[in-house]
């Protein structure tokens, strides 16, 4: 891999080697531009991950007993949480994101849903919703469609275009056929058919056949929350990052934790200050900067980057950096079945239902979503959780675990979350991380319609389980969101510099050589499956950066 000197200005510094940063790095470097990617997490390879639930523990939905290898570590980097501005935030794990080369695309479920046309123009179709920042995007589905296709073919997505009667137009089919259906998919399809709904083959960022020198999925089942041992999951680590490195124009610098974006006297960015693995401060000089650090860390970095020209943080002249935070909304139900499903094998999702994707005024609230069927608990996570079907210990507990581990199914709905200006990422005034930097402070309350939508989808999930023939089923509690793995909306894109942070090409309104590309660019939530759209946006933004470099509009080695 190429190594760059910190004192020589490279064309671009990219912050974050995740779903977006990996794509941007590949696109810029294959165009011949010199790129340094600063990634705070480690550079793990396939041989570093194992079929080991204890070691790979990546989520905290149960007491955390292992170390989080692929995600942010709250002991080193705590966040604080409060519901409203009137409260003092307290330390409480709220945000979870991939923290390794490849970012969240390494451990994600690999659901790869495109947005629909409606997701970009929903404000125009639905009307305004008072007290929210519900708005249209500055781009349409048609403008993004070529980049969805590019992402699917570059990264390697398996699916069946045309199988979903509600899907938006695809200019090309998926490059790979769907993965084999699992019992979860069969039961979802059975339930949907009975109810007159439509289950279709899930588009997944996992290879069903060998592709571009990578092996096909071996159905090992250590998938969501794990790193893939075969490189069959189409993370940026397995797909585009090696391509970027092969150009000789890209250095992935892991263990580099950014502190501040440096600006020159003209108010242009000229480099990135970061801590290296020894916690020594370094500065990588650059002609332009692309921040792809996720919906929480991106605004945090901009807010930390204060200077005499930018006293409120970079790209924040209108005060909107960190506002309109969107956290994921989900709902669902669990059921048990007569025969073993053996969901511990293979990929997590094989069928999806999107009959309730669009919001419908008849429901009496705004909201929509899509549903998949899965059972994604490994044995430890399953057995230590508190569930209505599990006594806590003793022979009844043992019998229930034995009976239900292979026979349990969740219907999981992925839902809209309304953007609210009062929901924010800001810098905590007291709490610091292990490097002495201010902790991320989350202020968050759901709009009442989010909760109504969750209750609506819980009922649909129960109907599906019942129709699929579950012996028993129960709905999940409907609660305000206080933790999230999908972080969106905090540097929203728009045409008006007064009401948005970046323009439709992800360039900061305030700083011409600063770009922000990740979930923070989102104007609205979509249906809480953001990765596909984050990556399509990244391809589109990078395309524009290359053009700008070619025309000399931004300085580069061209």
């Amino acid at each position: 891999m190429k190594k760059f000197d910190t004192n020589t200005a490279v064309d671009f510094v990219v912050v974050g080697a995740g779903a977006a940063g990996g794509v941007v790095a590949k696109e810029l470097s294959t165009a011949g531009l010199d790129v340094v990617v600063l990634e705070q997490g480690p550079y793990l390879l396939e041989g570093d991950v194992a079929h080991d639930e204890l070691e790979n523990w990546a989520f905290w939905n149960s007491p955390r007993i292992g170390r989080s290898m692929l995600a942010n570590n709250h002991e080193r980097q705590p966040n604080t949480f409060r519901k409203t501005n009137n409260e003092t935030a307290v330390v409480k794990p709220t945000i979870q994101y991939g923290q390794c080369v490849g970012g969240g695309s390494v451990h994600f479920t690999a659901n790869y849903w495109r947005f629909h046309e409606i997701d970009f123009v929903e404000r125009s179709r639905w009307g305004s919703i008072s007290g929210t920042g519900f708005d249209d995007w500055p781009i349409t589905y048609a403008e993004l469609e070529p980049y969805y296709t590019k992402a699917e073919w570059d990264l390697g997505i398996s699916g069946l275009a045309g199988a979903n009667p509600f899907e938006p137009p695809h200019s090309k089919p998926y490059p790979l056929p769907p993965l084999p259906v699992k019992s979860s998919g069969v039961l979802l399809e059975r339930g949907a058919k009975k109810l007159g709904w439509h289950a279709y083959s899930a588009p997944m960022a996992i290879l069903s056949q060998p592709y571009k020198g990578r092996a096909a999925c071996g159905h090992c089942g250590y998938c969501e929350c794990f790193g893939c041992e075969w490189g069959a999951k189409s993370s940026t680590l397995a797909s585009v990052i090696p391509m970027a490195e092969d150009t000789g124009h890209c250095e992935i610098r892991s263990g580099a934790y950014v502190r501040q974006i440096s600006v020159d006297r003209q108010g242009r960015v000229n480099g990135m200050v970061y801590f290296d693995g020894q916690r020594q401060e370094q500065m990588q000089r650059a002609k332009a900067v692309v921040v792809c650090a996720n919906g929480a860390e991106t605004p945090r970095l901009l807010l930390q980057s204060t200077s005499s020209q930018f006293p409120n943080g970079l790209a924040n002249s209108n005060g909107l950096v960190g506002k309109f935070l969107i956290l994921e909304c989900g709902a669902g139900a669990t059921g048990t079945f007569e025969h073993p499903l053996n969901e511990y094998k293979s990929v997590v999702v094989t069928r999806v239902v999107q009959d309730f994707y669009d919001a419908d005024p008849k429901r009496g609230f705004y909201g929509g979503g899509g549903m998949d069927a899965r059972f994604d608990d490994h044995p430890i996570a399953y057995a230590i959780s508190y569930r209505p079907d599990l006594p806590r210990w003793g022979s009844d507990f043992k019998r229930a675990v034995k009976e239900n581990y292979t026979r349990t199914l969740n219907v999981f709905a992925h839902l809209t979350s309304l953007p609210m200006e009062t929901n924010t990422v800001s810098l905590d005034p007291e709490v610091k991380d292990a490097w002495g930097q201010p902790a991320v402070r989350i202020t968050y309350r759901n709009h009442p319609d989010d909760l109504k939508n969750m209750a609506f989808f819980r009922e649909r999930a129960l109907e599906l389980l019942q129709a699929a023939g579950a012996k028993k089923q129960w709905g999940w509690p409907v609660e305000e969101v206080t933790m999230s793995v999908h972080l969106m909306g905090t540097c929203r894109m728009g045409n008006d510099p007064e009401t948005s942070v970046v323009n439709k090409y992800h360039r900061a309104h305030d700083v011409p050589n600063l770009f922000v590309v990740d979930g923070s660019s989102f104007v609205t939530s979509g249906r809480n499956q953001p990765t596909c759209t984050i990556q399509a946006l990244a391809y589109r933004a990078a395309d524009n950066m290359v053009q700008a470099a070619k025309t000399g509009e931004i300085p580069s080695s061209f």
């Binding site: 891999m1 480690p42 550079y43 793990l44 390879l45 396939e46 041989g47 570093d48 194992a50 079929h51 080991d52 639930e53 204890l54 007993i65 292992g66 170390r67 290898m69 080369v101 084999p180 259906v181 699992k182 019992s183 998919g185 069969v186 039961l187 020198g213 092996a215 071996g218 159905h219 090992c220 089942g221 041992e229 075969w230 490189g231 990052i241 090696p242 490195e245 992935i252 892991s254 263990g255 025969h339 073993p340 499903l341 053996n342 969901e343 094998k345 293979s346 044995p379 430890i380 057995a383 230590i384 806590r392 210990w393 003793g394 022979s395 043992k398 675990v401 034995k402 581990y405 292979t406």
Partner: protein, 193 residues
């Protein structure tokens, strides 16, 4: 498993390694995995590093009530006690005081309910269950439950789940790869198609 060296291995820098894994084929990966597993298993020695034999007997008896043996093996047969003992000298070192305190609580509750008892492990099974019900809201019980379950289902290399009894109980077949059909309903579905 030697945790510190493993951590260093994981957090190594990327120098010179990028893309090298691309050339790794499945057989090589499988062989590497199997080798690692055998190496780990060969170091399994049934010696306590934290507990005294008396303490181990008490903890093991309690764990064996959380996951009892019936027609299938329980926590005792899974050697969960060795998992816990090893955890307390490696990745869960900071839980040592909780165990020492918890063992005292267990002793106190045992004597309170059964004044003539010599130890918790010396009680009859129904008596042990009674004592555990009396402490089941305590932090110690919660920790012991967690460790027992983890030791029962974690990879055998960690010292518990001996002979994969945990996985066998729940019908989890431990293989590196699987092929469809995976479960009952997809097998049935594929037959119909």
């Amino acid at each position: 498993m030697e945790n510190d060296s493993r951590r260093q291995f994981l957090f190594r820098s990327a120098t010179g390694l990028g893309g090298a894994w691309l050339n790794m084929q499945w057989p090589a990966i499988l062989a590497a995995q199997n080798h690692a597993r055998e190496a780990a298993n060969s170091h399994t020695v049934l010696v306590f590093q934290f507990f005294s034999p008396e303490q181990a007997a008490e903890v093991e008896a309690a764990a064996a009530q959380i996951i009892p043996a019936d027609d299938t093996p329980g926590a005792r047969e899974a050697r969960v006690i060795y998992f816990i003992d090893r955890a307390l000298v490696t990745f869960d070192k900071d839980k040592q005081p909780a165990y020492l305190l918890g063992l005292r609580e267990l002793q106190v509750k045992t004597l309170e309910l059964f004044p003539l008892a010599k130890s918790f492990s010396g009680l009859t099974s129904p008596q042990q269950i009674e004592v555990l019900h009396a402490i089941e809201k305590t932090d110690f019980f919660e920790l012991l439950r967690l460790h027992t379950i983890v030791g029962f289902f974690a990879r055998p290399e960690y010292g518990g789940n001996h002979n994969q009894v945990g996985w066998k109980l729940i019908g989890l077949e431990d293989k590196m790869t699987y092929e469809p059909p995976f479960g009952y309903y997809d097998a049935e579905y594929n037959k119909r198609q």
